[in-house]
């Protein structure tokens, strides 16, 4: 059974009583342990699809099953809990919380768990270790480079050990060298930590690092 199972999904937005059809009948499956790149031009609906998979948006029609759960069946708080346990989200602009240190940023998702303060610190440090940034634990985001910030963000995404990772243009705001480091890290997460990964990108080189590629164009998947 695929970890991500999107069937017949339609997503419409309404702007000023005008209907925008963003996703038009998407069928999309990702097997456990796979690493899929979603490619497509700007505005084709990549972020929208990723948000549906991550459970932060709902489809207008169709079904989204992720990690064995039909997301439409969950209410708001169940869905929040489900997200905290099942998906890690990596953003294009890192979205670290500026007033918190790297370690505290990584620790943030653990606040929702019953772990003790000490255990939370330990786990957060372990996650920072995975992204080779334990020496920057007490730095604030503004004291880090873009690549480092994204690595902290990745540590935050994996700290609760979710089975699925989604990344929205994770290298979109980085120079070539940092982008390369981030891609290598994501590859490691897939190969060694067995994370199922869906990554949106419009960078062909980034897409090459994935095991599979899917093209999205005008709300329709084309192989």
């Amino acid at each position: 059974m695929p970890v991500v199972d999107v069937q017949n999904v339609i997503k419409k937005y309404y702007r000023d009583s005008q209907e925008i059809l963003v996703l038009n009948g998407i069928d999309f499956q990702v097997e456990e342990g796979d690493f899929v790149a979603l490619i497509g031009p700007s505005g084709s609906g990549k972020t929208t699809l990723l948000n549906l998979i991550a459970g932060i948006d709902q489809p207008t029609a169709g079904s989204v099953r992720v990690a064995g759960t039909e997301l439409a069946r969950l209410n708001e708080s169940q869905l929040a809990r489900w997200r905290s346990e099942n998906v890690g989200f990596i953003f294009q602009f890192y979205n670290l919380i500026p007033v918190l240190t790297a370690l505290e940023n990584v620790e943030l998702p653990l606040l929702l768990t019953p772990l003790s303060r000490k255990e939370r610190r330990e786990r957060a440090l372990t996650a920072l270790n995975v992204v080779s940034l334990s020496d920057r634990a007490s730095h604030y985001p503004r004291q880090l480079s873009g690549g480092q910030e994204q690595r902290v963000a990745i540590a935050r995404a994996i700290v609760t050990d979710p089975p699925v990772l989604v990344a929205d243009e994770p290298t979109g705001d980085l120079d070539a060298k940092s982008a390369e480091e981030i891609l290598a890290l994501i590859e490691t997460l897939n190969q060694e930590f067995k994370k199922t990964i869906v990554m949106v990108t419009h960078d062909p080189r980034a897409a090459q690092r994935a095991k599979h590629r899917k093209h999205l164009d005008k709300g329709v998947l084309t192989a």
Partner: protein, 393 residues
Amino acid sequence: MKYLPYLLRHLRHNWVRTSSTVLGMAFCIFLFCTLSTLIAAVDWSLKSAKASILVTRHAVSLVFTLPIAYRERIAAVPGARAVSPSNWFGGVYKDMKNFFPSFAVDAETYLRMHPEFILKDPVKEAFLRETRGCVIGKDVADRFGWKTGDLFQMESFIPPYRKTNREPFEFMVCGVYDTDEIRYPGSFAGLMLFHFKYLYEGTSQRCGIATYHVEIEDPEKAGVVSKTIDDLFENSDTPTKTETESAFRAGFISLGGNLALLLWFISLAVIFSILLVTANTMIMAIRERKVEIGVLKTLGFTNLKVLSLVLAEAAFLGVLGGALGIFLSSGMIRALPKIPFLSDAVRGFPFLHLSWEGAGQGFGLAVLIGIAAGLVPALISFRARITALLRQV
């Protein structure tokens, strides 16, 4: 609780905004606590005044006294049952900071008219016998450790009440009077009564009578009797003004009902503006943190949790402001008696201090303002959809 560091970090990060909001809040609570303490003191004073007693004084000002001879003439007014002179002595024991109210009275008539001062028979007998005798409230006795038989000296800060030979008056403690809060609410255990005669002789019979307390037969007729008394002296050199004891006190304190109302109105306006300022702070705070709130929700924070975090942050501003305001207010209230001009107005009050109750109300008000201010931004955060929060550009 584990979210506290997160909240504090935000407040510290925007410390300029945080401290200005906290200062505004503190000012508001300061005003609230100080005013409510003063108004409670006024209320106390009025509550303990009796409607069945009129106070006659000089029509122009308390500074001028009335002739001794007025006593008989007032007593002859229909409806008047008893007349008793009473002078606010304004005595100072060693230092102004020791101040407590002291009155020169005609003991026998005064005590009969004021049953709230409860004297045991031997104490009363000793007091009536002893020329220098005085009775004191429990608070005064405790404050200075005075016991029956102790001698102490006081001098009035009102020049006409000083001895002609320039020595201070010497008093002898004849006992402590009791109060009964149930039968006579508002009775004050912090004053001293001594014989008017002693004052009169000490000043070589030169001081007059500051006030006559007139007990009347029917409180309903207070107006009529007052007018009759004042009419009696209307065209004399020393016209009088007679009013009920509570009206007299309200005038004496110069904080009439209208002033209190005005003060409350001002506090209310301040409270309201601080509410707006704090709400503005919080709205700015969450607008800046749009993406951050989106991230929290993405990470699995429920809408309710995000709402609570925003409310908690706002309430925390209240906690800080409230604590600071209470601190300032208690300092101010303690300092009041030392401030020129103001000190005269508050001197007659019982030990003026910020009560636990008053402080608690101030603190509660601060937290309430904080929460109220956080309500709108909290609801905005609660309702905002993740995708809308995260959308950039």
